[in-house]
Symmetry: D2
Subunit: 141 residues, 4 copies
């Protein structure tokens, strides 16, 4: 499994958009994926808060890593985000946990927190799991 975990990390190192927005994988386990981003001026909206697209992007990336670690070749079907509090500075952390897996469907909740531990937004993702072998997938990428 450790080899597979390394493969997933390597695959997501090729995610150029995650790199652009500064989203970094901090932790990958069977229970959760943690993604973090240091907030700079480039992440802010006109009001000086972390922009909504940035918050979503970090959450979505955490889900993508988790879903593909647990079930290779998952694709996101829907994402849903509830904005709770504004975030301004420091860093934001997205923690993705799978709520359910059944058949071709996997559902995760992703909570994004600021560096005081306050919840900034709460997301839910619905992924479609393809019929692909894990090792085959990791060799192909």
């Amino acid at each position: 499994m450790e080899e597979y975990k390394q493969g997933v990390r390597a695959f997501f190192k090729n995610d150029k958009f995650a790199e652009l927005v500064g989203a970094e994988i901090v932790e990958v386990t069977d229970k959760c994926v943690v993604v973090r981003a240091k907030i700079g001026n480039e992440h802010l909206n006109g009001n000086g808060f972390v922009q909504g697209g940035m918050l979503y992007s970090v959450a979505d990336f955490a889900f993508a890593v988790l879903a593909n670690y647990l079930h290779p070749a998952s694709v996101t079907q829907c994402g849903h985000i509830n904005y709770i509090r504004p975030a301004k500075t420091g860093e934001i952390t997205a923690i993705a946990r799978e709520t359910e897996r059944a058949g071709h469907t996997c559902i995760s909740e992703v909570i994004v927190k600021d560096d005081k531990g306050e919840t900034v937004c709460i997301c839910n993702f619905n992924g479609f799991v393809k019929d692909v072998d894990k090792l085959q997938w990791i060799k192909g990428v």
Copy 2:
């Protein structure tokens, strides 16, 4: 109204994250807002497709511009995205249209298309409209 439209555009020029991801306001009218982004390598995921966070970010930005043009000082409460087809190259265009406004709530649908005119994703946003005067808002920003 033309003065206000200029004010809204000026305000969103200060959106640093929109700048980072390359989202540009193309059109602002009472009927719709159009936002466009040229796709480069930095917008792609590990599979070589436009990353899900990028797609959402462009849609969310179009909604933010529209909601604040129509109703000053709107904030996004929830966003929902359905991914339909992958997009790879060229440019993506988000068209935001308001579905409904009632009391403090405004709802928009945003459709993101690739440069062949094919729908890439369909989003829905729910905004909270604050009690703020339009001209007061634009002077304050």
Copy 3:
């Protein structure tokens, strides 16, 4: 096609829950499905408004009819509802229109209105379209 439309209506006549809540199919065309319900005391919540589950149920039923009329053997993957205004008496009407179909995915918007034509809620549904022949499906049900 007329034969198939009759088949779909017959199939949905067997929807016992739609019968329980009083949801009736008014119109089935390629462009939209209209479902209506007369509001009685049994549809109200503790505040005397049409209950949120009732509003969703009528919308969901309109989507189910439309999706299965256009693409046999569709199943709902996700539903999303934005509540706009309360409804109290008279009747409510749900109009379902398909926004997009691509591959196994179909997306519809359903708007529920009260009898003054005011929008009560706005829903979006994501359906999975199975690989089934239309006539085969209708004979099997």
Copy 4:
């Protein structure tokens, strides 16, 4: 608090639609609300499964009870449902837990299970909390 809990239960006894669909409050605590419904023929769709509107209605009711128990005079702004597995017979149970409360916003996750304990659907609700005193609210209803 016990007096208030009784008040909430009394208020929701007046929910006529919950009565129509057979949704019964089983448990009300600070941590969760449990709602149950015995499944009869009247809850089934044309395929013989529990209808999607029925599943949503039970989940939405559990959220409404929880939100109003924790924060009087909450109204649902959005509901989101992911369908996971079909349910056929026996009973269904919705367990609502609050994920977050901040300012006027409260977010809950509601999981609906069949009588084997399998997850049937996963819902998320976003409520708006009004500025109302708890005891004032309960006396008014």
